[in-house]
């Protein structure tokens, strides 16, 4: 199922032909439309470079992230420290490369959690009629009117210590942040999936499959869900960007990862007291967050145009 989903157009396209139409031509059409969006391509390239850098960078740049050297304290960029050093003389490039892994991983994982919950809720609401649907949508609206940041701060604060004791500080904070961000951002996906399901389940090809005696679960998994994923993918990219921002906001308040795990937000939090004497420290960390979010937003915009031919006209 997973292989065929990415290329699916949204429901308003002639979905009746979906299982028959050539998968290759349609996906290349999507790719072609995506390529025309220059900023989206630039975003994809930039994001790929960042992913490669945080993935393989620590192997090439083997300066330890916590090597304290007071003689090089608060130095600006130089050949031995391309991004400069922080107040303890630790190499910022090494810290950014290591922290970027966590920042980007949190973003991706939180978006996956949000999309899975949202798709699940939306699918149930879209397939059921009456009370269940109404109750789920009421719940969705309720969550939409919860202010996410205050609640996020509250949840992190309340549940941080017990989880840390349970699975260790690093993994505990990771699980908590991913779960909470995902748990507070599933609503848009749920609404999108429900809307798609409502229109798709009345389509002829679904009716045909049902007439052939397909079970509801199989019907959903094989026919309705794959065709409803277009807008969800766009929502997912936006969720990745939002999750990266939220994680760095938390770290910025000192409520995110512990100090020895230098995520980008955490680096910025440490740097903000040295703005006047060492601005490079804050600028590199802030710039990394900004570029990651910007390129993801551009990719999302390009995907929206590519997956929905109506709006790109």
């Amino acid at each position: 199922m997973a292989g065929s989903t990415l290329a699916s157009p949204i429901a308003d396209a002639p979905a009746g032909l979906a299982p028959l139409a050539g998968e290759a031509t349609r996906s290349s059409g999507t790719w072609w439309r995506f390529r025309r969006h220059r900023l989206a391509v630039a975003g994809a390239v930039l994001l790929a470079i960042m992913l490669l850098a945080v993935g393989f960078g620590p192997l090439l740049w083997q300066v330890p992230i916590n090597d304290i050297d007071f003689s090089a304290h608060l130095d600006g960029p130089s050949w031995s420290h391309p991004f400069g050093t922080d107040d303890l003389g630790q190499d910022l490039l090494a810290r950014m490369l290591y922290g970027g892994r966590i920042s980007l991983a949190v973003g991706l994982a939180a978006a996956i959690v949000a999309i899975v919950i949202g798709t699940f809720v939306g699918a149930i609401a879209g397939m059921s009629i009456g009370a269940v649907d109404a109750a789920l949508m009421w719940l969705t609206d309720l969550f939409l009117s919860l202010p996410p940041l205050p609640l996020l701060l509250l949840l992190i604060y309340l549940f941080r210590d017990p989880l840390k004791q349970l699975v260790g500080p690093e993994l505990g904070t990771f699980i908590l942040i991913v779960a909470v961000i995902g748990g507070l951002r599933w609503m848009p996906a749920a609404r999108l999936v429900r809307a798609q399901f409502l229109s798709l389940r009345e389509k002829e090809f679904v009716e045909a499959a049902r007439a052939l005696g397909m079970s509801t679960l199989r019907l959903v998994m094989r026919h309705i869900l794959p065709n409803s994923l277009g807008p969800v993918i766009v929502a997912a990219t936006i969720d990745v960007a939002a999750a990266i921002i939220l994680e760095s906001t938390l770290s910025f308040f000192g409520l995110g990862f512990p100090p020895d795990i230098p995520t980008w937000g955490r680096i910025l939090f440490d740097a903000k007291d040295y703005l006047d004497i060492a601005p490079h420290w804050a600028l590199f960390a802030g710039g990394a967050i900004f570029l990651a979010v910007l390129s993801i937003n551009f990719i999302g915009d390009g995907l929206r145009d590519a997956l929905d031919p109506r709006t790109s006209a």
């Binding site: 309720l142 202010p147 549940f159």
Partner: protein
């Protein structure tokens, strides 16, 4: 109109109840105990701690505690802040005006940026102006508010030394000078918040105007010889704003999130920084109350959006 408002208010009640329930369950499930410090404090005898727990009903079943809490909230008894040593409702009332002022002015700024830029981009789609505006809008909503805040401090307070970066509630000036100082210290927080909002609103306005401007009745209005300015303001913008209002109402919770960040960076004494301080000081009644106030504000803004629909499009009747 008043019946419509009344019905909307009645619909908001279950949402408020639901939100309060979510908040209460979160706090009740949390492992922390507001009296945890009392129990370990050697100066407090155990029977006093037990008496306090009984007084505040901490050992009651959770449903009963929720009802007690709700009744107390409705009576205006919002609890006592352990950190600030004063009643929570006075504390919040002291700080709420500042927050509303900062959020309100930033929304006005955002509107003043988004409306003209969005409309102009939509009138000339894919022009140079549109592309630059689009790029700037993307940059605007990709920059997290704390990044913009730090950049502003770096630029305007440290390098140029034009603006103060700490918001002071006790300015020792009077008359015009006081207003000037207030204005100067509000510039940075309001701009940071307003530009972040304005960036995403610009895109909403643009896409919405773009949809409306193609419609037949606009062509008709132009063909009749109605001046372009009147076509845009009266025919296009008014209809284009209906979906924008929906989207803006949906982003309100995020605006309050941005307000919390901005208040914390610039040390604005509003309820957002109160929340952060309360969380860091384990001040449970304040945390509950502030989160609840934020939720009420979100619902209030949804209500305003509902009223705006009717004003923008009379077909959406107040029924």
């Amino acid at each position: 109109m008043s019946r419509y408002l009344l019905r909307r208010l009645l619909i908001a009640v279950p949402s408020l109840l639901g939100i309060s329930l979510v908040l209460f369950v979160v706090l009740a499930l949390a492992p922390g105990d507001p009296f945890g410090e009392l129990a370990t404090n050697p100066n407090v005898p155990p029977e006093v701690a037990a008496a306090l727990r009984a007084k505040f009903g901490l050992d009651d079943p959770i449903a009963l505690r929720y009802v007690h809490w709700l009744v107390a909230m409705l009576h205006g008894d919002w609890g006592f802040s352990f950190a600030s040593r004063m009643d929570v409702d006075t504390l919040i009332l002291q700080r709420l005006p500042t927050t509303l002022f900062v959020i309100g002015s930033s929304q006005i700024l955002a509107l003043m940026v988004a409306l003209p830029v969005g409309v102009y981009s939509a009138v000339r789609p894919y022009s140079m102006f549109d592309q630059v505006a689009n790029l700037l809008a993307f940059i605007g909503f990709s920059l997290p508010t704390f990044c913009t805040g730090l950049l502003f401090i770096l630029l305007f307070s440290i390098y140029l030394d034009w603006l103060p970066f700490v918001y002071r509630a006790d300015i020792s000036a009077s008359g015009w000078h006081w207003y000037w100082e207030e204005f100067k210290q509000a510039i940075m927080p309001v701009t940071v918040l307003g530009l972040a909002q304005g960036a995403s609103w610009t895109r909403y306005v643009r896409s919405s105007v773009l949809e409306v401007v193609r419609l037949d009745y606009v062509t008709t209005a132009r063909a009749k010889g109605v001046p372009e300015r009147i076509v845009m303001v009266k025919h296009v913008l008014r209809n284009a704003l209906v979906p924008v209002v929906t989207l803006v109402a949906l982003t309100m919770p995020a605006v309050f999130g941005g307000a919390v960040v901005t208040e914390q960076i610039f040390r604005v004494p509003g309820i957002g920084s109160l929340l952060i301080n309360a969380i860091l000081a384990n001040d449970t009644p304040v945390i509950m109350a502030v989160t609840f106030v934020f939720s009420c504000l979100v619902i209030l803004f949804n209500l305003i959006a509902d009223v705006l629909y009717g004003w923008l499009d009379p077909r959406i009747a107040y029924r």
